[in-house]
C-alpha cells in the first residue's frame, strides 16, 4: 500500500543529492522518498552512505548537490537543531548524548519545562521519567548518563527522539546493542508512531528486523541508490544481492564441533573461581589454543563483566588465572597484554578507537604496545600489515592514512578488530565483535577468526547474536544473573539449547 503512494504525498523527499568527502564520493545523485505512516528501511554495506545521507538531510553536513524537500518546501538546515525544530527527529549512529549530564537532562535538553523563562525542574524530571516509561525503562534519571551501560544509553537516545513529537523520525542502527525484549518494545513504539502518521527511516544490518517491521526498503551501494522495494515483495536473497552487488558466498557455517580434540594442544588457559562482589559470581572456565568459546546471555547477565575481570580492566576479588599451569597476575590491562591477553571492548566510541589517528596507526597500536615502544615497527612493515588487514576485512577507506574518525561506523568496528587480530595474542576476548557490521563483512570476519584459531589462538567471544555463536563456537558458556549457569559442548550447541539455558 505504502509503495503505491506517489512522491507528491511524501513528507520528506530527497532529489539528486550528492556529497563528496576528500577522496570519497559518499553520495551520488541519490533520490529518496518517505511517506507519512511508513517505516522505511535504509540498507547497504558498511560505507554505502546511509549515515551520510541522514546527516545531509538533517544539516550535520552541507550537501554538494541536490534538494531536500520536507513537507512541501525546500529546506537547508544549517545545523541539527534546525532540522529538529522543523520536525525531523534523529538518533545518530553512535550514541550521541552527553555522559556527564544526568539522564533526565539528556532527555530534556532544549525542551525543559519553563516558568517565566526559568527551568522548572520538577515537571521537567517527571517528563523525563514518562519518556523512559514508554520504553519500559525504570532507572534513576538523576544519575549521570555515563554511569549506565551502552544499551541503556541507546534507549535514552531513542526515548529522546520519540518524545520530540516530530513528523519524521530517523533511527540509524538503534538496535545494535539492545536485547530481544528491548527491540520488541522499540518495534511496538515504531508501529504506534506509524499508525499516527509519522514517517520513520530505519537503518539496520539485521535483516530479520527489516522483515519484521518495515514497509519499504531503499538500498544504497557505494553512495548510489540501487532501488526502492516493497519489503513484502523482496526475497531476502535478492535483497542481499542488491546490497552487495554480488551473490553472498554461503559461509561454511557450522564448525564440525566434535571432530577436533583440543585437549593437550597449544596453550592451556585456566580461569578458576574468578569473581568480584556485586559484579560477578565466581566463574571457572578452561580454554586451549585453537578453541573458540562462545559467551552467551542477555545484556547485564555478566558477559562484559567476565571479560573485564579476565583482562584486569576490573579488579577481581577472588580467583586466579593460569596459563599452562602458571598463575598470572592480572592487576591491570597492561599486565594482561604483556601476558598475551587481548580484549576488544563493547563500546568502541569510549574505549576503542582513537579517532584522530589514521587507520594504519590504529591497526598497529596493540602490536606496537606488545613489542614495547622502544622497538618501533618499521614503516614499510606497518604499511603492509595495514594493507593486508584492509583487504582481509574489506575496510572501506580510500587509503590507510585516513583518520579513523572519518570512516563509517561499521568500518571503525573493523579497524578495532584488525588491531587485535594483528597483535597475535595467545588469548583474545571479543565483546560483541560484529556489532554494526554488514552481512558480507560478517562472513569475512568469521573466516578470519577461524584461521587465527587454526594457528593456535584461544578465543572467547561474547555476543548476543546466537546464530553467530552457534556458527563458530566449539563450546558455549551461558551466563545468567551474573553467574555461569551452563556449559554446552559439541552437538549440544544449538540456538534452542542456548535459549533454554538463558531462560530457565
Amino acid at each position: 500500500m505504502a509503495a503505491m503512494t506517489q512522491s507528491t504525498s511524501a513528507i520528506l523527499s530527497v532529489r539528486g543529492v550528492g556529497k563528496v568527502f576528500p577522496g570519497v564520493k559518499a553520495l551520488q545523485n541519490v533520490d529518496f522518498d518517505l511517506v507519512p505512516g511508513e517505516i522505511h528501511a535504509l540498507l547497504g554495506e558498511n560505507g554505502a552512505g546511509k549515515s551520510t545521507l541522514i546527516k545531509v538531510i538533517t544539516g550535520v553536513h552541507p550537501r554538494d548537490a541536490g534538494r531536500v524537500i520536507f513537507n512541501g518546501t525546500d529546506i537547508h538546515p544549517q545545523h541539527p537543531g534546525e532540522a529538529q525544530n522543523m520536525g525531523i527527529s534523529t538518533v545518530y549512529q553512535e550514541v550521541n548524548l552527553v555522559p556527564t549530564l544526568s539522564v533526565a537532562e539528556n532527555l530534556m535538553l532544549e525542551r525543559q519545562n519553563l516558568k517565566w523563562g526559568f527551568i522548572n525542574w520538577k515537571p521537567t524530571i517527571a517528563a523525563a521519567r514518562d519518556a523512559l516509561a514508554t520504553l519500559g525503562l525504570d532507572i534513576d534519571v538523576e544519575r549521570p548518563l555515563g554511569s549506565y551501560s551502552v544499551a541503556i544509553q541507546q534507549l535514552v537516545a531513542i526515548a529522546r527522539a520519540v518524545a520530540l513529537d516530530a513528523r519524521v523520525l530517523i533511527l540509524d542502527e538503534p538496535t545494535a546493542s539492545l536485547d530481544a525484549e528491548e527491540i520488541k518494545s522499540l518495534f511496538q513504539i515504531m508501529r504506534d508512531l506509524r499508525g499516527r502518521g509519522m514517517g520513520i527511516i530505519f537503518v539496520t544490518h539485521f535483516l530479520d528486523q527489516v522483515y519484521a517491521v518495515t514497509d519499504r526498503i531503499t538500498v544504497l551501494r557505494n553512495g548510489q541508490r540501487v532501488g526502492t522495494f516493497v519489503t513484502a515483495d523482496l526475497a531476502r536473497i535478492d535483497l542481499i544481492g542488491h546490497m552487495l552487488g554480488r551473490e553472498l558466498a554461503e559461509v561454511s557455517s557450522h564448525r564440525h564441533h566434535d571432530e577436533r580434540g583440543f585437549t593437550g594442544k597449544g596453550n592451556q588457559i585456566q580461569i578458576k573461581n574468578l569473581g568480584r562482589k556485586r559484579m560477578l559470581h565466581p566463574v571457572s572456565l578452561e580454554l586451549s589454543g585453537g578453541e573458540i568459546v562462545g559467551l552467551a546471555g542477555l545484556l547485564g547477565s555478566g558477559r562484559t563483566e567476565l571479560a573485564e575481570l579476565i583482562f584486569g580492566a576490573q579488579k577481581a576479588d577472588s580467583g586466579l588465572v593460569f596459563i599452562n599451569g602458571e598463575p598470572v597476575m592480572l592487576r591491570s590491562p597492561q599486565h594482561a597484554i604483556r601476558s598475551g591477553f587481548a580484549l576488544c571492548p563493547e563500546d568502541r566510541k569510549q574505549d576503542g578507537i582513537v579517532a584522530e589517528l589514521s587507520v594504519r596507526e590504529n591497526i598497529i597500536l596493540a602490536l606496537q604496545g606488545r613489542r614495547g615502544w622502544l622497538r618501533p615497527i618499521p614503516g614499510a612493515e606497518q604499511q603492509k600489515i595495514a594493507d593486508d588487514m584492509i583487504r582481509a576485512l574489506g575496510i572501506a577507506t580510500p587509503d590507510r592514512e585516513k583518520p579513523v574518525g572519518q570512516l563509517s561506523g561499521g568500518n571503525q568496528q573493523k579497524v578495532i578488530l584488525a588491531r587485535w587480530l594483528v597483535a597475535k595474542p595467545l588469548f583474545l576476548i571479543l565483546d560483541e565483535p560484529t556489532r554494526g557490521i554488514d552481512v558480507g563483512a560478517h562472513a569475512d570476519i568469521i573466516k578470519l577468526i577461524k584461521e587465527l584459531c587454526d594457528e593456535g589462538l584461544a578465543l572467547l567471544v561474547a555476543s548476543s547474536e546466537l546464530e553467530e555463536i552457534v556458527a563458530f563456537a566449539d563450546r558455549v558458556v551461558v551466563m545468567r544473573d551474573r553467574e555461569k549457569v551452563s556449559e554446552l559442548v559439541g552437538a549440544e550447541i544449538t540456538q534452542s539449547r542456548i535459549i533454554e539455558a538463558i531462560a530457565r
Binding site: 550535520v60 545545523h79 541539527p80 544499551a151 563483566e305
Partner: protein
Amino acid sequence: MINERYYPLLATLAVCALLYGYGIYEHRAFSDTYVLGNLLTDNAFLIVTAIGMTFVILSGGIDLSVGSMIAFVGVLMAELVGGFGLHPLAAVVIAMIVGTGFGGFMGYLINKFDIQPFIITLAGMFFLRGMCFVINLDSVPISHSFVSDFGSFRIPLPGRGWLSASALVMLAAVIVGIVIAHYTRFGRNVYAIGGDRQSAELLGIPVGRTTVQVYALSGLFSSLAGVVFAFYTASAYPLAAVGVELDAIAAVVIGGTLLTGGMGFVIGTFFGGIIMGVIQTLISFDGSLNSWWTKIMIGALLFGFIVLQRLITRSFSGLRAGAG
C-alpha cells in the same frame, strides 16, 4: 547514595571548613565576623571574575583576558569620570557594555574560525593591557562622591564585622551565576557543550551561539569585577590585576569544576575563592611565614583537586561496567 557529581563540591566544602576551623583553633580572633567580612570584601573582585570563568571552563574553554579586562575597565572608567565628567554609574554601564561586547567578540572569533580559546583570549589579554596604556600611563584616582559613598557603605554584622558594598555586589553575582547555571536553558547547554561538544551539536543545541554567549558572559562578569576593583581601590592603574586570570582559574578548579568542562558548580567557585582568601589570611595571621606560602598552599590544593577529578572521571567507567 549521593550523586557522584557532588563529590568535588563536597571536597571543596570540607577543605573550606577545615581551614576555617584550623584558623579558629589557632587564633581566637579568627572566629570574629570581622575576618569573614574582610574575606568577602577583599576577594569580591576575584570571585566575581571566577564566576564568569566558571562558565567558560564548564563549556570546555578558557579565558585569559579577564585580568587585563579588570585593569582596562578601571582605566576606562577613570577616563570617563575624570576626563569626560560622566557620573560613575553611567561609566559603569558603558564599561560593562564594552567588556561584554569584547568578550562576545572573542567568542565570535573562537567559534567562527574554530581557533583554540587559549590563543584568542591570550591575544585579548595583550590587547586590553595595551589599551590601558593607550588611555593612561599612570595610576590615577577616581574621585567622586559616589565612589567614596560606595567605599564607606557597610551593613554591620553581629560582632565587629560588616558587609561592604563590594561584598554585596559579589554575593548578588554569585546568586545570579547560580540561577543562570541551573535554571536557564543557556546554562544547561553550557554544561552539555563542555560534556561532549559533538554530541551537543547533534542533540540540536545551538553550539555556536552558546559559545559566543559564554565569552560575552565572562566579559560581563570580569568587567563587573573591574568596576568592583576600581571602586574598592578608588583608583585606576594600567598594571592592576596582573595574573588574576590564573587566580580565577585556580578558584574555579579548587571549587570543584572539572578543568575539561561539563561538571561543576558556581557555588563551588565561591568557596574556591574563599579558600584562597582564608589561606592568605591564615598566613598573614601567622606573621612568621613569608607571603609566598600562600602560593605554595594554593599550588598544593590545585594538585589535590586535579587528582581528585581524575579519580572521579575514572570512577565513571567503573560504574558503567557495574551497571552493564
